[in-house]
């Protein structure tokens, strides 16, 4: 029989048992839809993380304090206190592979402008911070090294702060706001950055001189983080080594002991995310595999039923000249058609689910052509694999016995 006729035959057989065919497809539909949606979410967040990380400046290096106490209660990095002013001084002294350095401390609290208030983070940094993070100013000016020295009560604000504290749209430059009862003068507004991958509003931020936040708000001499910027992307690894050496010297750590800080470059972070997404991909592949096997077993089951039901038809077809291969192809094409149709419906559902996730949860998603083509092919193979044995059984029937079957 010609392939067109085989497909017509299979379509007709499926149409005659629409509900049964649909229920059989359901396993495949759910499996494929789940895989398409999950891959889309995975790919979307991967892409957005990557673009954000490189947008942050792929030269950025982050130094955090680290507990080097083995065992016992491990403390989180806001309470671990190892990074101090002399560390920054040591780093700034004679850098080879990095340029800008900025300490950072932050505090959460309420900020007030007259009747308007808002709970946010104030971050104490140095003037270089904007350069390291590649955060441009929209208007006004950055604070200076002099402001840091004098612990000046000046600040830069993000767009979310502006819209919450100045809902009437008045110009915030030069205005006074109060954070934990300490008055700050707004001298600059940061340009809009939007949300990051984790859904954090990056515009919900106040930047002030690091000493101001340390002394007037936190009453601490420690830093929570030190940011630095490598000369260029290629020298990040060298910069990490250099910073590690400088800080070990500054902390007077004897050789052989663990670092009491962690230095991480942006490139490293990107690699970590890539590795995570690879694990995710393997996990998805396993889920896809399991659901398609379950779907395939469903197809196999229903094809066996179908062969038994149509024994007499098979006998008739054989008696008028159908060869074993013709019967085999008839049932194989039917199985493939069921699984591929299920796959197509699954792809449609998957894409729809992906759109819903983007619309309602605002998660970044990306449906790749590769995932669609791959699931389609896997469905085809599933159909062939699980349809083969029932089809082979049909083709091996004895025409006389099949004709006599009631």
């Amino acid at each position: 029989m010609r392939i067109v006729n085989l497909i017509q035959l299979a379509l007709r057989a499926i149409k005659r048992n629409k509900m049964r065919a649909f229920l059989t497809m359901l396993g495949i539909i759910i499996g494929v839809a789940a895989v398409i949606a999950m891959v889309a979410i995975g790919q979307g967040s991967k892409q957005s993380i990557q673009s954000q990380l490189s947008g942050m400046g792929s030269n950025m290096i982050v130094i955090r304090p680290n507990s080097n106490i083995q065992g016992g209660a491990r403390l989180d990095n806001t309470t671990v206190q190892t990074l101090t002013e002399p560390d920054v001084a040591a780093l700034e002294k004679d850098p080879q592979y990095f340029t800008a350095v900025s300490p950072q401390v932050s505090s959460r609290g309420q900020v007030i402008n007259g009747p308007n208030n808002w709970t946010t983070n104030i971050q104490g940094v140095s003037p270089d911070f904007l350069k390291i993070r590649s955060w441009p100013l929209q208007e006004g000016v950055n604070f200076t090294q002099q402001d840091v020295k004098t612990s000046a009560k000046v600040c830069l604000v993000g767009q979310t702060i502006v819209s919450n504290l100045f809902p009437d749209g008045s110009d915030p430059i030069g205005k006074m706001i109060r954070f934990k009862n300490i008055p700050f003068k707004i001298i600059g507004v940061l340009s809009k950055k939007g949300e990051n991958t984790f859904g954090q509003d990056q515009d919900d931020v106040i930047l002030a001189p690091v000493t101001t936040v340390q002394k007037r708000i936190l009453a601490t001499i420690y830093y929570q983080t030190i940011f630095a910027s490598a000369l260029d992307e290629k020298s990040t690894d060298k910069a990490v080594d250099e910073i590690t050496n400088v800080l070990r010297a500054s902390h007077k750590l004897p050789p052989g002991t663990d670092d009491d800080f962690t230095v991480r470059s942006q490139a490293e972070l990107i690699n970590t995310f890539t590795a995570t997404s690879q694990i995710l991909t393997i996990l998805l592949a396993v889920i896809a595999g399991i659901s398609l096997i379950v779907g395939g077993i469903g197809i196999m089951n229903i094809m066996y039923v179908s062969v038994t039901e149509r024994t007499k038809e098979i006998g008739l077809r054989m008696s008028i000249g159908a060869r074993g291969i013709d019967i085999l192809m008839q049932f194989l094409v039917e199985a493939i058609l069921i699984s591929v149709t299920g796959g197509l419906i699954g792809v449609a559902f998957g894409i729809a689910a992906t759109k819903l996730v983007t619309i309602f949860l605002h998660w970044p998603t990306l449906v790749t052509q590769a995932s669609v083509i791959l699931s389609f092919m896997v469905c085809f193979i599933t159909g062939v694999f699980f349809g083969y044995y029932p089809a082979l059984k049909a083709s091996k029937l004895d025409p006389i016995e099949a004709l006599r079957y009631e």
Binding site: M1, R16, L316, R317, M318, I320, G321, A322, D326, I400
Partner: protein, 258 residues
């Protein structure tokens, strides 16, 4: 050799045994005969005498345990399963007692079916041939009917059209009138006689009923797997005349034509 005498079927010392555990059933026990082109042979015999077994072998659906079978000069015993399927497709036509039409499939498509398994025919040719076969059995008005929309006699006509569509060298029928009443049986026999007389089709027809056998030119009688009688019918009945001589059906009596 003239046309009338050309042998198309030649079986010699055919045996067919079925093993049922310990015992073997000898369904056919040394059967030999030849059939020439254009013959109309009925095979008779009591139940279990081996008629169906013989017909299955003649129809290339089954192979004998021993003995030879030449169809159109070819030794069927030497062919593979696939080759046998090809033979059934191109050389033979089957008519069954229970019609065996595909359900929910139109008369036309049922008749086209054998040609679907022959790559030599295009869709257009298939349809043309099927329509011609349906016309030959008098069903031109019913081509798009489904089997469940046809009477038993009409369904059997569709089955005959299906057996005709591939221009077979021989048509094999196993109790093709077994499910039909006398009147409809005679109508079918009329058609079979016409195929034999007018179109010169070779026909082998298994039946239980002597009146059906009386429409054929030759009758082979089996008993316990052996031929007990092989006789040329000197008094062939004409199915059309027999049909006319049947008592009129009830309807015509209660509702006389005015």
């Amino acid at each position: 050799m003239n046309k009338e005498n050309s042998v198309i079927l030649d079986i010699r010392n055919l045996h067919r045994e079925f093993k049922m555990g310990e015992e073997t059933v000898k369904a056919l026990n040394g059967v030999s005969f030849t059939i020439s082109k254009g013959e109309f042979v009925t095979i008779m015999g009591s139940s279990g005498s081996g008629k169906t077994t013989l017909l299955n072998i003649l129809g290339c659906l089954d192979k004998p345990t021993s003995g030879t079978y030449l169809l159109d000069g070819i030794d069927i015993g030497k062919l593979s399963k696939t080759q046998l399927a090809g033979y059934r497709n191109r050389k033979l036509g089957f008519v069954f007692q229970s019609y065996n039409l595909l359900a929910r499939t139109s008369a036309l498509e049922n008749v086209e079916l054998p040609l679907m398994y022959n790559k030599d025919f295009s869709a257009k040719q298939r349809k043309e041939k099927a329509l011609k076969a349906l016309e030959a059995v008098g069903l031109s008005q019913r081509v798009h009917h489904l089997p469940n929309q046809l009477s038993g006699g009409q369904q059997q006509r569709v089955a005959i059209a299906r057996a005709l569509v591939n221009d077979p060298v021989m048509i094999l029928a196993d109790e093709a009138t077994g499910n039909l009443d006398t009147r409809t049986s005679y109508e079918i026999m009329m058609l079979v006689q016409e195929l034999n007389d007018v179109q010169g089709k070779t026909i082998v027809f298994v039946t239980h009923e002597p009146d059906i056998a009386s429409f054929s030119k030759r009758t082979i009688t089996l008993k316990d797997g052996k031929i007990i009688k092989d006789a040329v019918n000197t008094n062939v009945q004409n199915a059309k005349e027999s049909l006319a001589s049947l008592p009129p059906i009830d309807e015509e009596i209660t509702n006389p034509v005015t």
